[in-house]
């Protein structure tokens, strides 16, 4: 099994690649509809602006094959913007449609706290999670974002709080996503990736 990394030019593709390699997993970068369609497992990394991610996905005509693969049950992991992209839209770029895999919108974190929400924070488990299996409840994960899924629905399995409670981990059937960066979250992050690899195997 190889993990197909959706390569839309985001800065963290190489970091995710390195993190997977450390776990002994094979990955390949893909930026064509055909490669997405053939994927065994999909990983959508992302960092930066919501608009940049969505525009590149549409420019490369990756939206349709991604949705197709997800609806066919291909195991999917979204990281950071890769989580946010799953929703209907984001306040960061209100004119652009998200992938609309999940209901709800991505919103700005409140200005009452320091933004971006940058650094190591803990998560609160809401229900049993595949991605967080075997990870200490007090573990810290590395976050770097100013927008978040605040009123996310059923898919949320763990939340984090920075000014407001938001989705940190979501799981729904074959769809998994994390707001933090597992590739930058030390041993706890490596375990999240390993748990995903096991699901995808």
């Amino acid at each position: 099994m190889k993990v197909t990394l959706v390569d839309h030019g985001a800065g963290n593709v190489a970091s995710v690649e390195r993190a997977l390699r450390r776990l002994g997993a094979e990955s390949l970068r893909a930026n064509s509809p055909a490669c997405i369609a053939e994927a065994d497992a999909l990983l959508l990394p992302g960092v930066g602006h919501f608009a940049a991610l969505i525009r590149v996905l549409d420019d490369l005509r990756l939206r349709a094959p991604l949705l197709e693969a997800i609806s066919h049950g291909v195991q999917f992991l979204g990281i950071c913007l890769g989580l946010q992209a799953l929703y209907e839209c984001s306040e960061e770029a209100p004119d652009l449609a998200g992938l609309r895999v999940l209901p709800g919108n991505v919103r700005a974190l409140p200005p009452s706290v320091k933004l971006p929400h940058m650094g190591w924070n803990q998560v609160q488990m809401k229900r049993k999670s595949h991605l967080l299996e075997g990870i200490d409840a007090n573990a810290y994960f590395y976050f770097a974002h100013s927008y978040a899924a605040i009123d996310a629905g059923e898919a949320t399995v763990a939340t984090c709080t920075h000014g407001v409670e938001f989705t940190a981990v979501l799981e729904e059937k074959n769809i998994h996503a994390v707001q933090f960066h597992p590739e930058k979250s030390g041993a706890a992050g490596a375990r999240v990736l390993q748990n995903f690899l096991r699901l995808a195997a």
Partner: protein, 254 residues
Amino acid sequence: MSLAHRIIPCLDTDGARVVKGVNFVGLRDAGDPVALAARYNAEGADELVVLDIAASRDRRPTFLETIRRVAAELAIPLTAGGGIRTLEDARAVVRAGADKITVNTAAVERPELISELSMEFGAQAVVLAIDAKRTGNRWDVMVRGGRDSASREASVWAKQGVALGAGEILLTSVDRDGTQSGFDIPLTAAIAKSVSVPVIASGGAKLPEHFADIFAQGAADAALAASIFHDNVQPIRALKSYLGERGIEVRLPC
């Protein structure tokens, strides 16, 4: 449960090797950046900063290679800087494996650089480094390695930098740098109060109390130091235990 205060070791390099010295004088070799990076990653550092203090054009490929080799060792975020003057410089550093870019003198000379970087990489990837020096009852921004005054007030520049798209401020006290007499609490508190983004305090650290004070009194979100970590004067694990015992939220390594 809240955001942990970060402990950040900084590797000042001449491109290839970690160097040490006060005000760029009497530089001496302080080790291999790759070995140090691996050590800090294992010891529970929250991030790592790698700077090219020589920042000469001909050594650029060497520095990029250093970033690549350091990034390969890390499962924590990496910030790189020194000599980034253009978007293209920043792209090379990001491609080499940096998660964030730090800019200093070049941003003072051409503030739009901050916006260009922020548009391309996102605010969370743009760290504005400010070297500040006390002049009377204000702090002056210093450039070119702390040598020249930019004739502007640090808090004004910090606010402007954030408005232009910086997502973090790396604040170095020129007065305290190299003195090991503790972080500059009034400076850090003043800047942390004036901006909406996280502030990393730098310059003057030696003792665990210095870190406790800059978090509790200086309102710093993160604290950076170099030689005390390289020389193992202050092991990161012991520092974090000390802070944790005093009720300061830190990520304790397992």
